[in-house]
């Protein structure tokens, strides 16, 4: 149950956060001075916290969505399966966040 409301809350947070995406894209489209402003915000400490938090919300919402999709297909309604899917979603969201940031920074 908590996972479902977390799915919803992360959805709302992502919805509102698209303003930040639009702002950043518009800054890049507006030229170097505007971009420097945006980059200063993004690379600041609170900016980085928001970035990691947003990516975590995105990946948590994605894994929760896949959980719901498995249920839509008719699988995974047994109590044991429900339990481990919930745990896998939480663990996976943290793991994926770390992985994505690692790939972004170290690999690419």
């Amino acid at each position: 149950m908590a996972m479902s409301i977390a799915h919803r809350i992360s959805g709302v947070a992502l919805y509102l956060g698209t303003i930040l995406l639009a702002g950043w894209l518009l800054a890049v489209a507006s030229g170097p001075e505007a971009y420097q402003c945006a980059q200063a915000v993004v690379t600041s400490i609170p900016g980085r916290v928001v970035m990691v938090g947003y990516s975590w919300a995105l990946l948590h919402h994605m894994l929760g969505g896949l959980r719901h999709f498995i249920w839509d297909l008719g699988f995974g309604f047994e109590l044991g399966t429900v339990e481990w899917m919930a745990r896998a979603t939480i663990a996976g969201s943290f793991g994926l966040t770390i992985l994505v940031w690692f790939i972004g920074y170290a690999v690419l």
Partner: protein, 128 residues
């Protein structure tokens, strides 16, 4: 679900059955699946480009693959989020007028923010 006007003597609003429920359900799942690879690819590449200077970021976003995937993601993602927020409004917002207002805002917000994103991506990739 209809309210009986004769019995109460007051004209109640008739709450109609939604006609688009199945379509929303399917579109939500399809956009969700499309979003999975898009989000993973875009997150990784975006993070890789966050610390670059203006020229580097502009070059990244102007690449045809990135620009096209960005546009697909904007369309799919914003449609998905509009339907999702619509369900939240259906669940938690009461009152005829408030619900309609919320629905209108839910139409305008993804539309405007999405249009801004699309404009930015096109402008960057065309080098304008």
């Amino acid at each position: 679900m209809q309210c009986f006007e004769q019995e109460t003597g007051v004209t109640e609003s008739k709450i109609k059955a939604g006609k688009t429920g199945t379509r929303h359900f399917l579109v939500q799942r399809v956009t969700a699946l499309v979003n999975v690879p898009l989000v993973l690819f875009l997150l990784c590449t975006l993070i890789a480009n966050l610390d670059k200077d203006y020229a580097g970021v502009q070059a990244y976003l102007a690449r045809p693959l990135v620009a096209i995937l960005m546009l697909v993601f904007i369309l799919s993602g914003f449609w998905h989020m509009k339907i999702g927020m619509g369900e939240i409004i259906e669940d938690y917002v009461y009152g005829r007028a408030t619900k309609k207002l919320a629905g209108l805002l839910n139409l305008l917000f993804p539309l405007i923010v999405g249009a801004a994103c699309i404009f930015a991506v096109v402008k960057i990739s065309l080098g304008l």
